[in-house]
Symmetry: C2
C-alpha cells in the first residue's frame, strides 16, 4: 500500500484564516483572503504589523480552533481506503500546539489512528510515496511525489504540481 503524508496547517486546517482573524481583531481591519491573491500574505505594508501579533500563534487555543479546509476531511477518508495515510505536521516550534493538534485530529478526523500522526520539526525525516504540503521547504527534500497545496503564501513557489482544492487532490489520487 502506498503511503501519503499530509500536512495540517493550510492543507487540512485553515491556518491562514486563523492568522487573518487575529490580525483583523487586533487592528480593526477586515481583510479577507482574496485581498492577498497573487501576493505573499504578510509582505508589504502589513508585514511589520503582522510581526507584532505573531506571538499569538504560540498561545493556547490557536491551533485547536482552526476551521477545517473545504473538502479535506472527506477526501482523506476516501484516500484512506486506498493508501496508508500519515498526518505530518511541523509543530515543534509551537509547544502548545502539540496536544491541540492531537485533539484537533481526534475531533475532526477520528478515523485517523494516533499511530498515524506525526508532529515534527524538519520533515526531511519522514518518508512516503506522496507528500501534500503548502511549503516548498518541506517538499524539496521529499523523495516521493510532491504535491503543492495552494496557499496565499506560496504563490511564487514553482517546480511542483499545484493543487488549488481537495477536489483536485481527489482527482489525482483516487
Amino acid at each position: 500500500m502506498q503511503r501519503i503524508l499530509i500536512d495540517m496547517d493550510d492543507v487540512l486546517a485553515d491556518a491562514s484564516q486563523g492568522i487573518l482573524d487575529i490580525y483583523n481583531s487586533h487592528y480593526g481591519t477586515a481583510y479577507v483572503k482574496s485581498d492577498f491573491e497573487n501576493t505573499n500574505l504578510w509582505d508589504g505594508e502589513v508585514k511589520p504589523k503582522y510581526e507584532n501579533v505573531r506571538f499569538r500563534l504560540f498561545e493556547s487555543g490557536f491551533f485547536r480552533n482552526l476551521k477545517p479546509k473545504e473538502g479535506g476531511i472527506e477526501t482523506v477518508k476516501k484516500l484512506q481506503e486506498k493508501y496508508e495515510i500519515f498526518i505530518v505536521s511541523a509543530a515543534m516550534e509551537f509547544p502548545n500546539s502539540l496536544k491541540e493538534k492531537h485533539e484537533w485530529l481526534a475531533e475532526h478526523m477520528p478515523f485517523i489512528h494516533w499511530k498515524n500522526m506525526v508532529l515534527c520539526g524538519d520533515k526531511s525525516v519522514v518518508a512516503g510515496d506522496y507528500m501534500i504540503d503548502d511549503h516548498e521547504k518541506n517538499l524539496v527534500s521529499f523523495k516521493g511525489t510532491s504535491l503543492l497545496f495552494d496557499a496565499i503564501h506560496n504563490q511564487s513557489t514553482e517546480g511542483f504540481e499545484r493543487y488549488k482544492t481537495w477536489n483536485q487532490i481527489a482527482e489525482k489520487l483516487l
Copy 2:
C-alpha cells in the same frame, strides 16, 4: 552526514524506573530493576497489578519527571558532531506527554533543536541510517541499521545487536 534516530523512553529517559516508582508507591513494594533481570518486567504475578496502575502513565508529570539514563545525554552530544541526530518518540498514545517530552528535551538536551524532534505513533514513517530503540516493533520495519537498547522488557528480543549501555553505543558509533 549520516542520520541517527534516537528513542526517548528507556533509551534517553528512564521510563522503567518511573513505572517502578509508581508501582512501588501504589502497592508499598520495594522492587528494583535488578529484581526483573532475565524476565519481562510486568509478566507473572505483578502483571494484573500493573494493569491497575497503568492509567497513571497518562497523567500530567509522568514523562516530564523521568530521570535521564546514565551516559545518554553526553553521548548524544558527541554523536551530534559526527551525525545528524533526530530524537524520535512514539508519544501519540499519551497526549499529555507531547508537551512534556518537548520540555524534557529542552531541559536535559538543549543542544537538540526543535527541528530535530519527532513525536509520532508508528515509527515506520521515519527514515535514517541508524535507529537506537528498545522496542522490536520499531526496529523491525527500519531500513537502516537497528541498535537494540537493552531494557528489562526486551530480554527475549532477538535478531538485533544489543547495547547494554550508552558507552557501548559510543564505542560503536564514535
